[in-house]
């Protein structure tokens, strides 16, 4: 089993290889849209859908994708699914789409997806790819929702405001079609620097849990070999 294949098999995990908390990938939507739980949930689910579909497609089509131009193909696949999703959101989730703004089209620039496609899609068959990408996408979703929950609670004192935006338009009561502007208690938490600080704190807490309680112990611990000098000229 090659190193890349090993990574593809073992690396997909909610905890040890979380795309947001460990790899720190795809941070711009995470930081920008995690101000409310509804936004975070909306973008997280959208990203997860594009994530899984793109990975499976790339895996199915891997025989036809030339190695040299693979990133172009990957981007094209992601962009097509993003476009479809964007149109669907416009049709059924228009208020939510307005809330998310530019970050829906920007899903196709999410590097967490691209790097995952690169790692697994060229190696695995589509079933394993679907399982792995679902795990990674769930990790992304959980991280963004966790961040959004904390931020929304600190900023407004409530959680899951405007939940009606998560209903598709046919079921949405016409009165509540736009997002309410709730009273903000601590508006710094609504700004992106707060998201960055909070993300840093969450990563620190995760690392502390890993090191203190051994949550990360199932991961293969590589013992760092001391560097041995090949040739020593004289004493140092």
């Amino acid at each position: 089993m090659s190193n890349l294949e090993y990574q593809a098999n073992q690396g997909a995990s909610l905890w040890q290889n979380n795309p947001v908390l460990v790899q720190l990938l795809g941070l711009s939507p995470v930081l920008a849209v995690s101000n409310t739980v509804v936004n975070g949930l909306g973008l997280g689910v959208a990203t997860a859908i594009v994530f899984i579909l793109s990975c499976v497609t790339a895996s199915l089509a891997r025989k036809y994708i030339s190695y040299t131009w693979r990133f172009v193909w990957y981007l094209l696949i992601m962009a097509s699914y993003t476009t479809i999703l964007e149109f669907l959101m416009r049709a059924y989730y228009f208020p939510l789409y307005q809330e998310l703004g530019i970050y829906v089209p920007l899903i196709c620039c999410n590097f967490a997806i691209l790097i995952r496609m690169e790692i697994q899609s060229s190696m695995l068959n589509w079933k394993l790819t679907a399982r792995d990408s679902a795990l990674v996408a769930a990790g992304f979703l959980l991280a963004i929702v966790l961040l959004a929950t904390l931020r929304e609670f600190v900023a407004t004192g409530s959680v899951l405001n405007d939940w009606q935006l998560l209903l598709a338009t046919p079921w949405l009561p016409e009165v509540n079609q736009s997002a309410t502007t709730g009273s903000v208690i601590f508006s710094f938490a609504n700004l992106q620097p707060a998201a960055l600080i909070l993300l840093g704190l969450i990563v620190a807490a995760k690392n502390m849990l890993d090191s203190r309680f051994g949550f990360g112990s199932t991961a293969e611990k590589e013992t760092v070999k001391p560097v041995t000098r090949a040739r020593v000229t004289g004493s140092l």
């Binding site: 601590f186 508006s187 710094f188 700004l191 600080i197 840093g200 704190l201």
Partner: protein, 362 residues
């Protein structure tokens, strides 16, 4: 670790970090007492509360980080942070605002980055900016000394001091009746006169001045000049004791003064304010001597310090005149802190025996 090669006439410098920090606090006293006299003792309450919370938080964090609490508390850095923070926020603001700001300053801006000596940004200004971004209304509620609100003709010596403000603060139920407020306006939201000049609009201010407000009068009872002179004296004391070097304050003040002179258009609208207003009607002095000279987050080389002062001075003037924030010291100093590592990198002093290879003839 390599031992330092030192040669024999050795003298122990008695300046420990704790002593330096204590001297900084002492140097703040003239300015603080002036401000208390003119604006009431809300400032003292702020500073006292900030000190208590800061020391408690510092001790708690040091315990969590398993450091020697007594040793690290004695370096007084939390004390300086608390004092500068207490000066920056408006007197009479709610207590929880002070607590939130100090928490951010001590815990996030200082200890999460690794404690004293590791923080890339000035902790007091980080806490202040957090409050400015989060609670703009509370942070903008500065009160003028009541003297400047009275009509010019009804002059009352007591009212020029902050005594009325203090009494209002401690006995709010007496406010309307026994301490009569003569003026129809009972307060203006401002951090410094400069902020009012910039924000509340030139027209409103001119109208207020016509109706007898003396915010900018040079002989004013508003006290801003005297407060700034108090901080200037404190800064000169620090210079005299060689706690700070002259590079940062001088270049900062000169930059602000020159820019204010350059953009001041006398005779026309004079919209940007006089150089005098920029230097003495604002927080420039405390910023130049106490905040920008924070030894941890400022540039360290002498050349770097001069550029650092110029950068902060330009930022102060630009944000004041073309920006929309109250006073710009905090933002400008944080901007300077961003630049400080680069300045240190590009302004390295020449090491003796290295460089100038042509002159050395090698």
């Amino acid at each position: 670790m390599q031992s330092l090669a030192a040669c024999s006439p050795l003298q122990h410098s008695r300046l420990t970090i704790g002593r330096i920090m204590l001297l900084v606090v002492v140097a703040c006293i003239p300015g603080i007492s002036m401000a208390t006299w003119f604006f009431g003792y809300g400032l003292i309450i702020n500073i006292g509360l900030a000190i208590c919370v800061a020391l408690a938080l510092e001790a708690a964090i040091l315990t969590i980080r398993q450091k020697n609490v007594r040793l690290h508390l004695a370096d007084n850095s939390a004390l300086v942070t608390a004092v500068l923070f207490g000066i920056a926020i408006p007197p009479g603001c709610p207590w929880w605002i002070v607590v939130i700001g100090i928490f951010f300053a001590i815990v996030v801006a200082k200890h999460i980055y690794g404690g004293l000596g590791q923080n890339p940004f000035n902790p007091a200004m980080c806490g202040y900016l957090l409050l400015l971004l989060s609670f703009p209304l509370e942070m903008a509620s500065w009160y003028l000394p009541s003297g400047s609100l009275l009509e010019q003709q009804s002059f009352n010596p007591l009212s020029w001091s902050g005594l009325q403000q203090s009494m209002l603060l401690s006995m709010p139920f007496l406010a309307v009746d026994s301490i009569s407020m003569h003026a129809s306006i009972d307060g203006l939201a401002m951090a410094t006169p400069l902020a009012e000049f910039n924000m509340a609009g030139k027209s409103a201010l001119l109208a207020a001045q016509e109706s007898g407000l003396s915010i900018f009068a040079r002989t004013s009872g508003t006290g801003w000049e005297l407060v700034n002179i108090g901080y200037l004296l404190g800064g000169l004391f620090l210079l005299y004791r060689r706690i700070i070097s002259w590079h940062i304050p001088l270049s900062l003040i000169v930059t602000v003064g020159l820019l204010a002179m350059f953009f001041y258009a006398p005779g026309s609208s004079a919209a940007y304010g006089t150089p005098y207003l920029h230097l003495f009607g604002s927080a420039t002095m405390i910023g130049a001597f106490f905040i920008a000279t924070d030894p941890v987050s400022a540039a360290t080389t002498n050349k770097g310090k001069i550029v650092y002062g110029i950068v902060i001075g330009c930022a102060i003037y630009a944000i004041r005149v073309w920006g929309s924030y109250l006073d710009s010291i905090a933002l400008a100093v944080l901007f300077g802190n961003f630049c400080a590592p680069a300045l240190d990198h590009f302004c390295r002093p020449r090491i003796y025996g290295h460089g100038r290879s042509k002159e050395l003839g090698s």
